[in-house]
């Protein structure tokens, strides 16, 4: 078994117009910037993108929006220090938005990965984000029914990867990456280093390789926050 590929272009080659794509990261932390930029190079259109945020500045997801790849964003917080790309596209009507409470977003993703089609949460009960959703009472408290959230692809960022697809993560860059790996039909991971099978202590594996389809090595990945502070624009 060897899930590694040599290039970013190979890693994202299957993603086509209209796909639903989960993208790991929370702000810039854990954002697979190199995979995102490789996808922008493919100039696909009409994507539904699932991320906690909706891009910052003119790189990463913000650049996907500016370059017309995205038809719909599903996120919890489409604000950032420079949300101009999202804001312009949203206000002009070019971009659809579904706002989901952050914990509900995480659990919808996890549920999809675990084969649970729906679950109940107290989150959003009595608010406009619960409108139209079934409500049920359990042990005297009200809960809102939420559906699983699946994707065709997940683009994620790990620290170490091996040919089996096992992954580790670096500090708080873990965030949405392991659960998105579970919820997508095809999960594509960029990692800072590929090691041989056995090179990751099984005790330290965070995402078991069964959830991961493709691994590409990007030594010294750039940080979105650093690009943003430099005023970088992609492409």
């Amino acid at each position: 078994m060897d899930k590694t590929v040599a290039t970013l272009a190979e890693a994202v080659a299957d993603i086509s117009d209209g796909a639903t794509v989960m993208i790991g990261g929370f702000g810039g932390s854990g954002a697979p910037i190199e995979l995102i930029h490789a996808l922008i190079d493919r100039r696909v259109k009409g994507l539904t993108v699932i991320n906690n945020n909706a891009g910052n500045g003119h790189v990463g997801i913000a650049s996907m929006i500016e370059n017309g790849l995205v038809a719909k964003m599903i996120c919890s917080f489409p604000r950032s220090s420079d949300p101009v790309a999202f804001t312009e596209a949203y206000k002009s009507g070019r971009l659809e938005l579904e706002v989901v409470p952050q914990g509900t977003l995480a659990e919808r993703i996890r549920a999809a990965g675990a084969g649970i089609p729906a679950f109940y949460t107290a989150t959003s009960y009595g608010t406009e984000l619960a409108e139209g959703k079934p409500v049920e009472e359990f042990d005297g408290k009200h809960y809102v029914r939420e559906r699983w959230l699946k994707a065709d692809f997940a683009l994620i960022k790990g620290e170490l990867g091996d040919p089996m697809g096992n992954l580790t993560y670096r500090m708080a860059a873990r965030n949405f990456n392991p659960i998105m790996a579970m919820a997508a039909t095809k999960t594509i991971a960029q990692v800072s280093r590929i090691v041989p099978a056995g090179g990751i202590d099984p005790e330290q594996v965070i995402s078991p390789g069964i959830f991961v389809d493709t691994v590409v090595e990007i030594p010294n990945p750039v940080q979105e926050e650093v690009l943003f502070r430099e005023g970088a624009v992609y492409p």
Partner: protein
């Protein structure tokens, strides 16, 4: 109507007051922005553990400029440091901590709080871009939900109201409000005044409060150091 701008507490002083109620060993989530200041005023000898939605328990203050590691941030996307005993986890575990009732305290900001404990703090309504983050999860499930806020808006309108006119974040969830003028509890669907700045009369405070202030007869002075 006056807003008592000349005597009101600064945000740092409101944060200081809120910090006095955080117990040793409590697991605490602080909202983005102003509520984050509460961590600076942790009471000597107490060691609360701070939780951030993006997967860290036990984080500390910002690093020195130039020492930032952008894989180590808080929910406000600001660089943080780790305290001994810190832990990382993914987003589903992070919100299992929240929804599962494992967090002792959540402290958030507010646009409006109603006398039944309803909170509005995520959307101003028409025209604004909706952005909710983790607020709706936190307010429904933390064991104690408190608010830090100015007592009135910049225009002098009450933020403590009989009923929220803005979109709700959560229903009947807030139990204590630390404002620039007072400390108010929510009990049995009412505002109960616990502490007020000594320069203010009860009627002064009622004049800038949207809902009816009740008292159980004991109102302490809101005493906060100069910060």
């Amino acid at each position: 109507m006056t807003s008592f701008d000349d005597i009101k507490l600064s945000n740092a002083q409101i944060a200081w007051r809120a910090a006095q109620d955080i117990e040793d060993g409590a697991y605490v989530n602080l909202g983005i922005g102003f509520p984050e200041m509460v961590a600076q005023y942790t009471v000597e000898g107490r060691t609360p553990v701070f939780h951030t939605e993006n997967g860290v328990l036990g984080f500390g203050p910002a690093p020195a400029p130039g020492e930032e590691d952008w894989d180590l941030i808080n929910a406000g996307k600001k660089a943080i440091t780790l305290k001994p005993g810190a832990a990382f986890f993914h987003h589903a575990d992070s919100f299992a901590m929240v929804r599962g009732g494992h967090l002792d305290v959540a402290i958030l900001g507010a646009f409006q709080v109603a006398e039944n404990g309803d909170l509005a703090n995520w959307s101003t309504g028409k025209g604004s871009i909706p952005a909710v983050g983790g607020a709706m999860d936190l307010v429904q499930s933390a064991k104690r939900v408190a608010v830090v806020t100015d007592h009135v808006t910049k225009k002098g309108e009450p933020k403590l109201v009989d009923r929220c006119s803005m979109p709700l974040t959560g229903v009947a969830c807030v139990t204590r409000i630390y404002t620039s003028l007072a400390v108010v509890d929510i009990e049995g669907g009412h505002f109960v005044l616990r502490e007020k700045l000594p320069q203010l009369s009860f009627d002064d405070l009622q004049s800038v409060t949207g809902g009816e202030l009740k008292t159980d007869g004991r109102i302490a002075d809101l005493a906060v150091p100069t910060l």
